[in-house]
C-alpha cells in the first residue's frame, strides 16, 4: 500500500471541496439572485442568501411578459430550445446511422468517396463558413424557422464514424443468419442493427442534446423574430451591457432555466454521458 493514507486523504477531500466550490459558486450566486427582486440585485449589495421572490420571479419570467419592454416569454424560448435540441440530436443520430449502415454493409461505386465527404466536414465547423451558410438558408426561405435552425447542423461526421466503428464489430454470422432466414437489408437493419446500437444511441443522444441546446452563433444569426428565439439567445438579448436597464432578476432566472435541462441530462444520464464523451472524441 501507498503510505500516509489518512493524512493525504484529508488533503484530497479538502482540495476537492475547494474545486467544487469554484465550480459551483457562480451558479450559487445566480440561483440566489433569481430569488431576489431587481432592486436588491441592482444596488450591488445582493444578500448571499435566498430571498422571497423565488416563485414570483420564475412565474413572471416564464409566463408573464416584462413591464419595461415587450419580450418573448421564456417558456416559449425553452420550447424552441427543446425542439431544436431534440431535432438536432435525433436527426443526427438518424441520418448518421443509415449512412454508416450503407457504407459498412453495401458495396457500391464511390463508397469510400461518400465516407470521406462526410468525414471532411469535421474540418468545416460553422464558424468558418458563417456568412455563406447564412445566405443559403436565407435564399431557401428558412430564416426564423425550425428547419433553418436545425437542418444545417444535422450532418454529423463524428456520429457516422462512431456507428461505422461499431458496425464493424458486429459479427458477420448475424448477417449470414439473417440472410438464411430470408430477411433483406432493411429487415436486418431494423431487427438486429438498431437494437444492438441502443447503447451507442443513448450515449450520442446525451452529447448531441447538450450540443443542440447550447447552440449560440447559429440561432443568433438565423432568428430575428422573438417567437423563434432559443433561451441561450434570449439571455444575450436581455443584457444591455452598458445600460442600467438590464432586469437582472429576469436575466438570472432565465440563466437558471437555461442551465437546468442540459445539466439534468448530464447528471441523470451520467453513465451515458461519460461513454458518449469518450466515444465521440476517440
Amino acid at each position: 500500500m501507498v503510505q500516509g493514507r489518512s493524512y493525504s486523504n484529508l488533503i484530497a477531500h479538502i482540495a476537492l471541496w475547494f474545486g467544487i466550490g469554484i465550480v459551483a459558486f457562480p451558479v450559487y450566486l445566480t440561483l440566489v439572485a433569481s430569488t431576489h427582486e431587481a432592486s436588491a440585485i441592482a444596488n450591488g449589495n445582493m444578500p448571499l442568501w435566498f430571498g422571497d421572490n423565488f416563485l414570483i420571479n420564475y412565474y413572471k419570467t416564464l409566463f408573464v411578459g416584462s413591464s419595461k419592454s415587450t419580450r418573448t416569454l421564456v417558456s416559449t424560448m425553452m420550447l424552441n430550445s427543446l425542439v431544436m435540441a431534440l431535432t438536432i440530436a435525433i436527426g443526427k443520430i438518424a441520418i448518421s446511422i443509415i449512412s454508416a449502415y450503407a457504407v459498412v454493409y453495401f458495396r457500391f461505386p464511390f463508397r469510400m468517396g461518400f465516407f470521406w465527404l462526410i468525414f471532411v466536414t469535421l474540418m468545416l465547423p460553422v464558424e468558418v463558413r458563417i456568412f455563406p451558410t447564412y445566405k443559403i438558408v436565407a435564399d431557401l426561405g428558412l430564416l426564423d424557422s425550425y428547419a433553418g435552425l436545425t437542418i444545417p447542423l444535422i450532418a454529423s461526421a463524428t456520429a457516422t464514424l462512431l456507428f461505422r466503428q461499431f458496425f464493424l464489430t458486429i459479427p458477420d454470422e448475424l448477417v449470414e443468419a439473417s440472410k438464411i432466414d430470408g430477411a433483406g437489408p432493411l429487415r436486418f437493419f431494423w431487427d438486429t442493427v438498431v437494437p444492438l446500437s441502443r447503447t451507442n444511441m443513448a450515449a450520442l443522444f446525451v452529447i448531441l442534446f447538450i450540443y443542440g441546446w447550447n447552440q449560440y452563433l447559429w440561432p443568433l444569426l438565423i432568428t430575428t423574430s422573438g417567437d423563434m428565439q432559443t433561451i441561450v439567445i434570449g439571455i444575450k438579448k436581455m443584457i444591455t451591457i452598458t445600460d442600467a436597464l438590464t432586469e437582472w432578476d429576469v436575466v438570472m432566472t432565465t440563466t437558471m432555466l437555461a442551465m437546468i435541462p442540459p445539466v439534468a441530462v448530464v447528471i441523470l444520464m451520467q453513465h451515458w454521458f461519460v461513454k458518449g464523451l469518450v466515444d465521440t472524441e476517440k
Binding site: 500500500m1 501507498v2 500516509g4 484530497a12 477531500h13 476537492l16 474545486g19 465550480v23 457562480p26 451558479v27 450566486l29 445566480t30 440585485i41 441592482a42 448518421s96 443509415i98 449512412s99 450503407a102 457504407v103 459498412v104 453495401f106 458495396r107 461518400f114 465527404l117 466536414t121 474540418m123 468545416l124 465547423p125 464558424e127 468558418v128 463558413r129 458563417i130 456568412f131 455563406p132 451558410t133 443559403i136 450532418a155 458477420d172 448477417v175 449470414e176 433483406g184 437489408p185 441546446w213 447550447n214 449560440y216 441561450v232 439571455i235 444575450k236 437582472w248 436575466v251 440563466t255 437555461a258 442540459p262 445539466v263 441530462v265 448530464v266 447528471i267 454521458f273 464523451l277 469518450v278
Partner: protein, 294 residues
C-alpha cells in the same frame, strides 16, 4: 476491416446516404466553396460588381494590424485557458483518483459544468464581475483598491473571458484526466512506493509520463475549444471589446462579416481559419494513429 457478408443492392445504399449527402453538400461544401471563391473577389460597395483579384484580399488581411492583434489575442487567450484549465483539472483529478470515500459523488459534482452553454457561462461570470453590481467586482475595488472595469480596461476584459472559459473547460479535462489516471495500473505505482519513491516523485516520474498522451490529446481539444466554442462567452461578456482586446480570430470573422462592408476580407479570414482547423485536426488524428500503434 471489411465485412464478408454484404448486401448487393443497386439503389438502396445511395438512398440511405442521400439525406446526409444533401445536408453536407448544401450546407457544408457549397458555403465553404463560396467562402473560398469570395476570398479571391473584390466587390464594390454596393455588391453590384466584383472583380477577381487573386490574393489581394489575403494581402490586405495579413497586412492589417487589427488582424495581427486578433492573432495575438487568440494566442494569449488559448495559452492561458488551456494552461489554467489543464493544470487545475489535473490537480483535481489526481486528488479524486486516490481511493477516497465518495469518489463518485465528487466526480458528478465536478463534471456538470460541461452542460452549461458557453454563452450562459459568460453571463454567470459577468454577473460576478460586472463593475456596478458584481459582488466580486466590489470586493476587488474595496479591498484591493483596483479600479476594476472590464468594460473599459483591456487587461480586465481579457482576465474575465479567460476565467469564464477556464471554468467551463475544467470539467471536460477533469473527466479525461481521471479516466487516464484510472487506467494506470496500481501495481506500478505501488512498486515505486515500495522502492521508497515519495508521492511527488511517483507523480513526476511515473504518473505524469503515463498520462502525457491524454494531456496531449486534451491540449489539442482545448485549443480547438478556445478557438471556436468560446464565441458565446466573448459575445455575452465583452462583445470583443474594449477596442478589440478580446476579439479572437473567430470573433473577428463574425464581426467584420456582419458589418458587411468587406465581404472578400471576411471570406479571406474564413479561409485562413479553415487552414488552421485542418492543421489542428491533422495533429489530432496523427496522435490518435500513434495511440493505436502503441
Amino acid at each position: 476491416m471489411e465485412k464478408r457478408a454484404i448486401y448487393s443492392h443497386k439503389l438502396l445504399p445511395y438512398l440511405l446516404l442521400l439525406p446526409q449527402m444533401i445536408v453536407v453538400i448544401v450546407f457544408f461544401y457549397f458555403p465553404a466553396s463560396q467562402a473560398v471563391y469570395q476570398s479571391f473577389l473584390l466587390e464594390d460597395a454596393f455588391g453590384l460588381h466584383s472583380e477577381f483579384v487573386w490574393f489581394e484580399n489575403f494581402q490586405h488581411v495579413l497586412s492589417d494590424p487589427d488582424y495581427w492583434l486578433s492573432f495575438v489575442v487568440t494566442a494569449i487567450f488559448s495559452v492561458s485557458v488551456a494552461g489554467l484549465s489543464l493544470s487545475l483539472a489535473l490537480f483535481f483529478a489526481v486528488m479524486a483518483d486516490g481511493q477516497i470515500r465518495g469518489a463518485n459523488a465528487y466526480k458528478t459534482l465536478m463534471i456538470w459544468p460541461y452542460a452549461v452553454a458557453p454563452a450562459v457561462a459568460g453571463v454567470l461570470w459577468l454577473f460576478m464581475f460586472q463593475p456596478s453590481l458584481g459582488i466580486l467586482a466590489q470586493i476587488i475595488r474595496d479591498r484591493f483598491g483596483v479600479d476594476w472595469n472590464p468594460l473599459l480596461n483591456s487587461t480586465h476584459a481579457m482576465l474575465l473571458v479567460i476565467m469564464a472559459s477556464t471554468w467551463k473547460q475544467i470539467s471536460y479535462n477533469f473527466l479525461f484526466f481521471l479516466a487516464g489516471l484510472q487506467s494506470i495500473p496500481r501495481s506500478v505505482i505501488e512498486a515505486a512506493a515500495i522502492d521508497g519513491a515519495s508521492a511527488t516523485r511517483r507523480f513526476w516520474t511515473i504518473i505524469f509520463p503515463l498520462l502525457s498522451p491524454t494531456a496531449f490529446f486534451l491540449l489539442v481539444v482545448n485549443v480547438t475549444y478556445v478557438f471556436f466554442d468560446t464565441f458565446g462567452i466573448i459575445d455575452t461578456m465583452t462583445g470583443g471589446g474594449p477596442s478589440q482586446a478580446t476579439s479572437t480570430l473567430v470573433y473577428k470573422v463574425y464581426n467584420d462579416g456582419r458589418a458587411g462592408s468587406n465581404l472578400g476580407g471576411s471570406a479571406a479570414q474564413s479561409v485562413i481559419l479553415m487552414i488552421i482547423v485542418v492543421g489542428l485536426t491533422a495533429i489530432q488524428f496523427k496522435y490518435v494513429e500513434r495511440k493505436v500503434h502503441y
